[in-house]
Each structure stands twice: as C-alpha cells, then as structure tokens.
C-alpha cells in the first residue's frame, strides 16, 4: 500500500489504470474502497466509478480535500475491464466431415460487447472474442471465422459492401459451402440488397444475420439467430443472399427473408425484420430448415462477382413543405435520385419543373413509396401521370432502400441514363414482383 496522496486527488485518480484498487476518504470520514472501473460517459463532473467488493458500481464525487490511497499491486486491467474470453476458444475446424461454413464478421450488435466507458455497445475486435460469446457455434461442423470489418452498421458504406462481396467470393473459392455474415441490424437490409446485386451467381447460400440484443446479455437473440443461420448456410440448396432473424418474439422460430425484399420495421423488437409485399421465403424451426418460395439453385460454376457500384445517387424522402429549390440543390452533382414519394408515388406538383429539367439534363429519377407496402402506380392520379411524362421511373414494389442500392449498381454498369434505366427495370434478384397475394390466402 502506498502512502495517501497529498493535495487534490482528482488528478492522480484520472491517471490510474482501470482495475486499480483504491480507497477514498472524504473530510467527514466517509470511505469508499474498491477498484476503479470506467465511468459512464454521462457521469457527472469529478465523479469516478468504483466497483465495491459487493460487485456494485457506485459513482463517487471526488472533493479536493478527499484523501486517496492507492493499493498495489494493481489488479491486471484485463480482469477488471478487459476482454478475457469466458470460454476457451473452440477448435476452429476439423469437426467431422460436415461442410465448412465461413462466418464473416462486420461488427454490429451480434458481434458487440458492452463498452463500460461509453455505456454503449462496441464491436468486438478479435476473433477469439466472438468465439467466447458463441462457444457452441461449430457443434455441427467446422466454422471458419473471418473478421472483415468492425463497425456498427450505421457506419457501413457502399465500399464496405464491395469489400464484403469480395470476401464472400473468396470464402466460397476457399471451399466454404455456405457463408454467414454477422452484421449490425440498422443497415443490414441495404447490405443484403447490395450483396444480392453484386454476387451474380452463388454456389451456396449467403446468410446475413444480426441481433437486437447484444451477446453479453443472457437473453441475446444472437445465440439462436447465429445457430440457425449457420444451419441454413450448411444445409440449404440455395444460391441466393438471405437474411435470417427471429420470426416472432420467441426463441424457437426464425424467418428467412430474401435479401432484396427485407426491411427493419421496428427499432428494438427481435422480430424487427419483415419481408415487404410478401411472405418470408423460408423458416427454421428447431433443426428443420424449410423454404416456401421457389429459390435460385446454387450455381454449378462457382461465384460470379461484379463489384462495381457508382457513388452518384441518393435517396430523398419527400414531405409536405419541402421547397423545390432545396430538393434541386440536393440532387446537384448526382447521376441518379430515388424519391420516396407519398401514396402511389407522388410529390407535390410544384416539384415538377425541377424534375423535368433534371431529367432532361440526364438525371435518373426513380419513384418509390413511403407506404413501403404495395406498389407505386403512376396512372391513378394526375400528378403521377405528370411525373411519368416527365420521365420519372416507377419502381414497382421495390423498397426505397433496395431501389437506392440498385440505382448505384445500375449507374455503375451503364454508359448513359437510358442504359441505367433499362438495367434498373430488370428483375435481378427477386426485387420486383408482379403479384402481391392477399396474405390470408395461404
């Protein structure tokens, strides 16, 4: 034990490592003894957090005349706050002869842990960490873990989709039977759509999976989601990009969505992901994987990847009061724009002039609907007919997000607007449906 610190203890406290055992005595004799843990980022000024013997963390305000005693040796930082695996990392390959699944990590809740400093969750940075969270992952066969990114999904950009597509292609070329991509849920649907367009042919399933509860919680949906996703990747005879998440609020049913038709429809529920304008293509119940929809078979020729994307497009959500000049300024320098319009696909008539002009200058303008459910239709109302006449392209029942991703894809492949428009209207990965069934008619 070292001698009590003289003077204001705050400065010395801030320099101490996490896990340091200390004792702080106030002028009135009140004493706190414990180890320093990271303070919450919303903690007050001059407040340190101390983990008491009981396990409780407490916030202690440090006064200039408090007496600080620092004990030695300090507890190794890893024991107090660092990432030491709870379980020994399981063997990484060679379990039986089951076909290998590649698990690509991109970050997100499913591969995150609580950051005790910021109070938020942060992506794991090491492969051993994810294996410590999911020790049973390779129970049914080898799972090869491939860290690709370590980002929350709001930080993922189109160039990350391209990188991911290349890594998926490599994984198949290296012998994977199926690929699972662990991804943050916020923009998972964008990534799924992008991979659907970039990976033109697949020898096996690519399953994107996420979690709405981080794996440091006993109730995390990550455990069951990931297990089910690995099962689909290992067994399904499908050559498509899929998304697997909880089908409901229970841990026993999982929905399989097509990568181009899925959208996150709730901020926090486990079953936030829904297939819009249709039903999920399949489900996992217990050990059984079934597909209700007709799926593209695995390609016999391996992966075909074309990772080109054009950055010159954007998505604009129309709202009453949106000034035409503001919208016009927004599209400046772009080659394409996706409008999320109202109802069947409308914007206020005052926007017609700039839209006409922009199209005549070569801008590709796509119309989708804020309703999300149902298809856009330009023929029903006058505004629609005007927009159609101006050259706006109606995107059927594509989600605004999928339309945006597809536009980046189409612009990268066409030398001119006419070529991009033609490519945009082709159904590439099940993103355009011509029928929408009444869900009650099973």
């Amino acid at each position: 034990m070292s001698a009590p610190t003289e003077g204001d203890p705050w400065k010395r406290l801030r320099g101490l490592p996490m896990g340091q055992r200390i004792e702080l005595t106030a002028a009135d004799g009140r004493t706190w003894r414990g180890t320093i843990v990271p303070a919450h980022e919303l903690s007050g000024d001059r407040v340190i957090q101390v983990k008491l013997e009981s396990g409780y963390n407490v916030g202690v305000h440090v006064a200039p005349d408090d007496r600080l005693t620092v004990f030695d040796p300090p507890v190794p930082a890893s024991e107090a706050s660092g990432p030491a695996p709870a379980h020994p990392a399981p063997a990484r390959a060679g379990v039986g002869t089951a076909p290998a699944v590649a698990l690509l990590l991109t970050g997100g809740t499913i591969a995150s842990r609580v950051d005790y400093r910021t109070g938020g969750v942060r992506p794991v940075e090491e492969e051993s960490e994810i294996l410590s969270f999911y020790p049973d992952l390779d129970r049914d066969g080898p799972v090869r873990v491939v860290p690709v990114l370590d980002r929350l999904s709001e930080d993922i950009a189109p160039e990350d989709w391209q990188l991911l597509a290349r890594r998926i292609a490599s994984a198949f070329e290296e012998g994977a039977r199926g690929v699972v991509v662990a991804h943050g849920t916020d923009t998972l649907a964008y990534t799924a759509a992008a991979l659907s367009f970039l990976l033109e042919e697949l020898p096996g399933p690519v399953v994107l999976v996420g979690a709405q509860r981080s794996p440091d919680r006993p109730s995390s949906d990550g455990f069951t989601n990931l297990t089910a996703a690995v099962r689909v990747a290992r067994t399904a005879a499908v050559g498509e990009v899929l998304v697997l998440m909880h089908a409901g609020l229970s841990d026993d049913r999982f929905a399989i969505h097509r990568g181009t038709r899925v959208r996150k429809m709730h901020t926090s529920r486990r079953d936030a992901f829904r297939t819009l304008n249709g039903r999920p293509v399949g489900e996992v119940v217990g050990d059984t994987v079934t597909f209700q929809a007709e799926m593209r078979a695995p390609s016999g020729r391996g992966v075909r990847l074309d990772d080109r994307l054009d950055g010159g497009a954007a998505l604009l959500w129309f709202q009453p009061g949106l000034e035409p000049a503001r919208a016009e300024a927004f599209v400046k320098g772009l080659r394409g724009i996706v409008l999320a319009g109202t109802g069947l696909g409308h914007v206020a008539a005052v926007h017609l002039p700039w839209i006409r002009q922009a199209i005549s200058r070569g801008l590709v303008v796509i119309m989708t609907s804020q309703c999300l459910e149902g298809a856009v239709d330009p023929y029903v109302y006058a505004t629609g007919r005007e927009l159609l006449r101006a050259g706006v392209l109606y995107a059927g029942d594509m989600t605004p997000e999928t339309a945006y991703v597809k536009l980046l894809w189409a612009l990268a492949r066409a030398p001119d607007p006419a070529g991009a428009r033609a490519l945009f209207l082709e159904d590439r990965a099940g993103e355009i449906a011509t029928r929408r069934e009444y869900p009650g008619a099973a």
Binding site: R30, G44, G59, S81, A86, S132, P218, S219
Partner: protein
C-alpha cells in the same frame, strides 16, 4: 447464531423502468418462449450461480397482459429510472441514517432462472452505512438498494417454466442488515421494525408477497447460507432455528466423516442398469424399462452417515438428493436406505460388489432416461459429498412450508454484476437530499411514543398496531371520535380473528369499521358482538344493519329482558345455586353469555346475574 436480513419491499409507484401499472392480473393476452444462457460480465467471468442455472437448459414461457409492455418482454430498452421510486429509496435511506451515494449507477445482476426476461435483474445501490435501534440494540444497515422485482412463476411442466410479467419491474427497496442478529426472535423484531419504517413512507404496496425477507444464517464453523424469499414475518424464527439445527447436524456428520478418514473418489461411477430388475424395482425399474440408465457412485467411509442421526431430522442424504435434483433427476437412492425402496438387500449387495465397497462404505444411485443427465446428477452429488468433508457449503436455499429449506443454487458472487448501460447514472445532488430531509415522515419509534401519549394506550399495543400496518387506520378512526381502546381492540383482535377463516385478503373500508364502533358506542350491540358482525361483513353482508341481523343481534333487548334471562338461567340451576352459593356465578355467567350472544355488554350481564343470584339466595323472599 449470526444472522442478517435482506428485506425486499414493493413500492406503490409505477414500475421502475417503464410506465406500466403494477397491478397483478389474471388477464393474459399472449406469451413468448425464450431461452437464456450465462454470459460474462465486465470481466468476462461467468458467475457460478448463473452458469449453474443455465446448465439446466430450460425454456421459459412469459405471459404478457395489461400490466406489461415491450420493456418487460425485453423487446424495448428500459426507460430512465423512476424518479419517484428513487426518492422513496432515498427517504428510507435517510430514515435509516444511511449515506446516499453521489451518483446512483444501475447494475445488471445476472439471474438466469428465467425470472427476468433479460437474464439479469436491474439493481442500484442507493445508500450505505445506516443503522437502526431495535429493543435498545444497534443493528447496522449495510446497504439500501433499489431494484426491479422478478416475474411471477405460475407453473412448470417438463422443461418449460411459465412466468407472468405483471410483477416484473415493480420497484423494490432492498435493505440489508449487518450480521449482528443473534436469534430468530431478534430477526423477527428487526424485520418488523424495518417493515414499520417502510410503511411510514405511506407509498409501499400492501398485502401478501409485497414484502419478502431473505435470511442469512451461519453458526460457528458453519457457513453463510441464504434462505431466500420468506413471505411471513412470523416464520423467521422457525427458519432461523431449523437452519441452525441443520448446520449443527451437518457439522457433526463432518466430524465423524473426518474421524473415519472418509473420502470421495474422483471417478468411481459404475453403470448398474443391468442390475435393475425390469419390474418390482419401482422408479428405477420404470426408468430402465423406458430405456434409461442407472448409475452408482461410491462414497468411502460414509456408511450410516447419510441418514438422520438419532433425534435429528436433517440428514446428509437429503442434501445429496437436493443437488442431484438440480441436475434434473427426481431424486436418488442411497445405501443407508436398504432396502432401497422396493429393492432388497441382495440387490444392494450386488451393487456393493460391483463397486468393490467395504462395510464402512456407502453408495448412491441415480437413474435418468438420459445418461448425460444421470452423469451430471452424480457429479453434483460427488461435489456435495466432497463438501461434506469440509463443512457447510455456501448456498442459497428455498424455504419450505414445514420450516425446513431446500438447496436451490450456489451463492452468487460479485461476478454476476455489470453495469446496465442502457440507463444513464442518476446524480444525487445535496440540494435534492436537503429537500427530502425536510419532508421526512415520522420515524416509527417517534410515532409510537406520540400515539401512546396522545391516546393513553400502552406502547406494546401501539407497536402491535404499527407492525401490522394499522396505525394509519387507527389514527383515522380516532380522528372520527371513536374510543382509542375500542379501535385498538377492533384492529388487533377482532378483525384478525374474524378474517382468519376467510380466504384471501378482504379489506373492510374505514367507513364500515367506523360504523361498527359507533354502533357499539351507541349501545346497539355489545363489544362482544363485534367479531360475529365483522365475520358477516367479510362474508358479504351489504351493510351494517344486515350484518347485525345475520349475526342474530338485531333484537338487542331492553335491560328488563336481561333480568328475565338471568332469572331463568338461575331458576334452571336452582340446585347448584343452593349448593355452591356465590361460586355458582362463574358457570352461570358462561350460560348467560351464550344466551345473550354478544347483544349486551359483559358488565351489564354480570350485574343482572348478580341481582338474580341475590334474589334466590335471600333466605325469606317475599311471596310473589
């Protein structure tokens, strides 16, 4: 005995981390099925209590309804800490002379028995280092915490446990005392005083299950054992004493085991499935018929020590069986029970030879349909048997209705706590504390002294009213002008007596109690009539007149009638009156009271009887 208490009191505020009502309900609008698994916290060590529960691999069904929302379902992040509940916890802390923290940090305490959908209970330390004086003795208060109540267990079938979410998230104040309590009776006193203090805030929930006690007991050479969730104060002494006895018995068994040089083999488990007859072997035969396995474990030097010692009720065999059950088997058989249920001594001898046991050795049998389950059960038995050589294991136990307790899980450690990052820490500012301090409710001991003085009641009666939570009702009735002794008698004796036979807790409104006392004071019936009238009210009489009439007290007569009744009782017992003189009073008083049946005051009845006796004993009465 060294004992400490943890008192958990539900608060009558909204829920702690969402805006749901706190009413318990039978309405279920839907349910979800979940699984939980133990996870590491800040330091990634899996708590052994948590890992233990996760190993049971149960599914949990949660029933949602009008008192729960997405937060209880773990489908929405918690809302900020309920400020009213925190204020109440701070008020209680101040009443206990505890010092509040500068910043309250909400923690997650891993609990994977399914009682919390998230797999952890949210809890926050609010204050430390308080004290309380009970019967002149100072008891330290280690901590005051604010935490969320768990979901309510409503059923269990096979591997699915059913919970209702209405109770999950109700705020609880947890008060932990130091280990200065030395007897069960004292534990009860301390718990009663803390209960009175909590009720003094007037914002705690009332009724069965709204206050629960955990009792920590250890004896010299024993270990801290936590008896979790005792719902009735009066049972505290019983549980304390039976735990003391259990530890004493097991320590004596330990001493004998050590003296014998007993030992537990690392690996000596034998599959004895083939030895079990297809029929006639009871549960074991049944297991084998269904394709299960039976395994045996040798315990060297344990013979005779698995059963209860002479004059004791506790035994080591039961402890081993509790551990086996934790692995999911129904129970076990051991060699001190020969014949082994339906299996005979010859069978036991075959097992002994299979395990190569000597006379001083014992064995344990466990059967399960799944060999892995049997194996895990025997491993737990082996661990528990090894602990028997050391002493008493630290553990959490469930209190049973018979006053004993059953092993529930290992005592959780500090590894199960990590910060709840979804809830920002709450600063406790000095100015806010000063405001709370200025408006503190009257302390229980101050209230007792004041009421005793004001209403000239003996302090023990006031204490009784306070501990039963009736002081508020007492003061309200006194304010309406009812007599203090009458109210005290009604609340401490008549009402509990009348309610004793009723199912559930029916509460009579204050107005009704007031009307009953007013009727007695007006002479409409005697105070002896109160219990039957209350009973009628509790059984559904619509109003007081109906209750009085159903109790047969409607025709409370004039004084003359009482004299006539007394006269007839004396006349019927003419011979006894002649023989015993004044001593006939007592038996005749009993007869007369039965006839009066509470319609008249006892004093009036006695006076009438005395008059009648005097008339009969007069040597020469005037002829009538």
């Amino acid at each position: 005995m060294k004992a400490g208490l943890e008192i958990h009191q539900q608060l009558a505020t909204g829920k702690l981390f969402c805006d749901c009502p706190t009413d318990l309900t039978d309405t279920v609008s839907g349910s979800v099925v979940r699984r939980l698994r133990a996870t590491g916290g800040e330091n990634h060590l899996v708590d052994r209590a948590a890992a233990f529960q996760a190993a049971r691999e149960l599914a949990f069904r949660y029933e949602a309804g009008p008192s729960s929302c997405l937060v209880e379902l773990d489908e929405e992040p918690p809302h900020p800490l309920n400020a009213e509940a925190l204020d109440l916890a701070l008020i209680v802390a101040l009443l206990l002379d505890a010092r509040p923290l500068d910043e309250v940090v909400v923690m997650r305490k891993i609990v994977v028995d399914g009682s919390n959908t998230a797999g952890f209970q949210r809890t926050a330390l609010v204050a430390v280092d308080g004290q309380l004086t009970v019967g002149g003795k100072r008891v330290s208060i280690a901590s005051v915490c604010l935490e969320e109540d768990a979901a309510r267990k409503v059923g269990e079938v096979d591997h699915e446990v059913r919970y209702r979410l209405d109770r999950l998230g109700i705020p609880l104040i947890e008060i932990v005392t130091g280990p200065e309590i030395t007897s069960g009776a004292e534990a009860r006193e301390v718990a009663a005083e803390i209960g009175a203090l909590l009720r003094a805030t007037q914002r705690v929930r009332r009724g069965i299950g709204t206050i629960r006690e955990d009792l920590n007991v250890s004896i010299p050479g024993g270990a801290r054992v936590e008896l979790k969730g005792i719902q009735e104060l009066r049972l505290l002494p019983r549980y304390a004493e039976s735990e003391e006895a259990r530890q004493r018995t097991l320590l004596a068994v330990r001493d004998q085991l050590v003296a014998r040089g007993a030992r537990v083999p690392d690996r000596r488990r034998v599959d004895v499935t083939a030895l079990i007859p297809g029929a006639g072997g009871g549960a074991l035969s049944e297991i084998v018929r269904r394709g299960g396995t039976v395994r045996a474990l040798a315990l060297f030097g344990f013979a005779g020590l698995l059963r209860s010692p002479e004059g004791e009720t506790e035994r080591l065999g039961r402890e081993l069986a509790d551990y086996a059950r934790a692995a999911g088997v129904r129970g076990l058989f051991h060699s001190d029970e020969v014949p082994l249920g339906p299996l005979d001594a010859a069978f036991a001898a075959r097992v002994r030879s299979e395990l190569a046991l000597g006379e001083a050795d014992a064995f344990v049998l466990v059967g399960a349909r799944d060999g892995a389950v049997a194996e895990r059960a025997l491993e737990l038995v082996r661990e528990r048997a090894a602990m028997a050589l050391e002493g008493i294991p630290h553990e959490t136990r469930d209190p049973l209705p018979d006053g004993r307790s059953r092993y529930s899980r290992p005592l959780p450690g500090r590894d199960r706590m990590y910060p709840e990052t979804d809830v920002p820490p709450v600063p406790v500012r000095p100015a806010h504390l000063e405001r709370l301090r200025a408006g503190l409710p009257e302390r229980p001991e101050v209230a007792r002294a004041r009421i005793a003085r004001q209403h000239r009641l003996p302090e023990p009666i006031v204490r009784q009213l306070q501990q039963a939570g009736d002081l508020e009702a007492f003061e309200a009735l006194a304010a309406r002008g009812r007599s203090a002794t009458g109210i005290a008698r009604l609340l401490t004796q008549d009402l509990p007596a009348a309610a004793a036979g009723e199912a559930g807790t029916i509460e009579l409104p204050l107005e009704t109690l007031d009307a009953v006392l007013a009727a007695v004071e007006a002479g409409r019936f005697a105070k002896e009539g109160i219990p039957p009238v209350l009973a009628q009210l509790l059984q559904g009489a619509h109003d007081l007149p109906e209750a009085v009439s159903r109790a047969g007290l409607a025709s409370a007569g004039a004084p003359a009638d009482l004299d006539t009744l007394a006269e007839s009782v004396v006349a019927r017992n003419e011979a006894m009156v002649r023989e015993r003189g004044a001593e006939a009073f007592s038996p005749l008083m009993g007869d007369l009271m039965r006839e009066v049946r509470g319609r008249r005051d006892g004093k009036e009845v006695a006076a009438a009887l005395r008059r009648a006796l005097d008339r009969h004993r007069a040597p020469t009465g005037p002829a009538t």
